[in-house]
Amino acid sequence: MTFPLTLLPAGDAALVAELGDAIDPDLNDAVQALDAALAAAAPAGLVETVPTYRSLLVHYDPCLTDAETLGAQLRDLARGLDQAARAAGRRWFLPVCFGGDLGEDLGFVADRTGRTMNEVAALHCAADYRVYMLGFSPGFAYLGGLPAELHLPRRENPRLSTPAGSIMQGGAQAAVSPMVMPSGWHLLGQTPVRTFDLRRDRPFLLAPGDRLRFQAIDRDRFAALSALAEAGALMPESEAL
């Protein structure tokens, strides 16, 4: 399947390279592939890109290039693109302590989906999540691949504050949240892993296109790993895709 490129104006210093209008793994792969190709081509005046579910926002310096030139370069890249080519991402294994005060909505999600809390946690651990995009706050990862039997509307009353490291779900999506923030999503548990840590050479653990698996841990293990994370010494396991 190929996704046709549409270029849209986005002011005086950006343009949108849109490949579709859906939340779809193949479409997201195509966005990642175009992003990687653009980074490799490094045309003059390219400032940065924001890959999303279905489009690439391309920020450029209008003193060094213009939308027409950059648009022609994007069209050339899209023509020669293997849209199925996967960027060199990683699959991360994140330890998660589900339920209790670390995941206040696990019981609610279990009730609403007619399962036990253990079953809900097991479904989350069986899923192979895709990082569709990062946004909303630094390192906040929008995950696709939430099992259909767990899809639930968001909370009626969003919380003004949710803890850092929360694993949450809302609608058809799941997320890992790196910092304290307001949210209307259901809180399932917490990971001791800091997905955003300025002390690291690589402050952001997750990149668009990465995969993610949760591994259930108990409260004692959570406490031990949290101490390691506090000391800046916790790096989760990962493998090349």
Binding site: P9, A10, V16, E18, E48, T49, T52, Y53, S55, A207
Partner: protein, 343 residues
């Protein structure tokens, strides 16, 4: 002892800002940075800094500072009332101060935002390549927050650099029109012709809840031909998103990197900078321009910023008419930048 500028009393919203945190939007990190890059660059030009050096962004009312260094040169760009040790002092001019001197920056007499720059810049540790403060993300500045009384802003220079003070006539800066120029899109196709006409013809009042993330507008309700949810995509500076309420929001330096409301148009960067000087309650309008005009306007704006150092003159040697008359040099001279009407 660290050379510093001590905050004695803080204004309502004073933050460290620079040219912005670029390169991390793909990770969800907002750009932040000066709302008005022209005024930031002007303050920096007055003290001999590069245009995007970190400075204090003042909002409505400034702060009071005490010099905790052997010496210091500072300047305020923006029409703010200013005193040094209780004596009235001028903005748009650098001042060389000694240890213990107190600078009080009062209310903006016109405009809304100004910048306090110090020669050599503040010795702050960049986070993700920038010292720009983003309050919600707790990034930049001293501790990710706004300035507060008792803060000590560390200085890169232990004393004022050699050379005299300098002035900049704000009348020489590019004029700012009342209508903000927009390029339609990226989601203008989500709106009907009547909705786009309502957007371009409307008089829009800047709402009270506006902040550095978004300028909320009140005016005619804009409908959506295709609903008000889109699948999240990236948000450029100046994007005008129209949520379900039909009341547009102009997205500003602290905006989120991506979002799910259709964007009818984008305000061009020079006019986002102009918006920094327009406060809640004021009325604005939009005017649509094409890609070529947007490109030309952007380049002219950047050239104006790059040219600021050439507009800066030594203080005390201003080419005021009285002095020229006394030198008997005025005959036949024409002001090339602001020619009289009858020339």
């Amino acid at each position: 002892m660290t050379a510093g500028l001590k905050v004695v009393a803080a204004g309502p919203l004073s933050t460290i800002q620079d040219g912005g945190r670029h390169g991390y939007q793909r990770y969800g990190v907002s750009v932040a940075g000066a709302f008005d890059p022209l005024y930031l660059a002007a303050a920096n030009a007055l003290v001999g800094n590069p245009p995007g050096e970190g400075a204090v962004e003042l909002t409505m009312t400034g702060d009071a500072y005490e010099v905790a260094a052997d010496g210091l040169r500072l300047a305020v760009a923006g029409d703010f009332a200013l005193t040094i040790d209780g004596e009235a002092a001028a903005p748009w001019r650098s001042h060389t101060l000694a240890r213990g001197q107190v600078v009080r920056i009062g209310a903006a007499r016109s405009g809304l935002r100004g910048y306090l720059a110090v020669a050599g810049g503040f010795a702050l540790v960049p986070q993700l390549g920038s010292v720009a403060t983003h309050l919600r993300n707790r990034l930049g500045g001293l501790d990710g927050g706004r300035l507060k009384a008792g803060d000590l802003l560390p200085l890169s220079l232990a004393q004022a650099p050699a050379g005299g003070d300098r002035v900049l006539d704000p009348g020489l800066l590019p004029r700012r029109g009342s209508a903000l120029r927009v390029v339609l899109g990226p989601q203008d196709s989500h709106f009907g012709p009547d909705d786009i006409a309502a957007f371009l013809d409307g008089a829009w009042t800047i709402g009270r809840e506006s902040d550095r993330m978004g300028c909320r507008l009140e005016g005619p309700v804009i409908g959506h031909a295709k609903g008000f949810n889109i699948i999240s995509d990236g948000i450029p500076l100046g994007a005008v998103q129209v949520p379900g309420s039909g009341q547009p929001i102009i997205l500003l330096p602290d905006r989120q990197t991506a979002g799910g409301y259709p964007k009818i148009a984008c305000v061009i960067a020079p006019d986002v900078a102009a918006l920094a000087q327009i406060g809640p309650g004021a009325v604005i309008r939009f005017t649509a321009i094409g890609a070529d005009a947007a490109l030309a306007a952007h380049r002219a704006f950047r050239q104006a910023i790059a040219g600021l150092p050439t507009l800066v003159r030594p203080a005390g040697a201003e080419l005021d008419s009285e002095r020229l008359l006394s030198l008997n040099l005025v005959d036949g001279m024409v002001d090339a930048i602001n020619p009289p009407e009858d020339v």
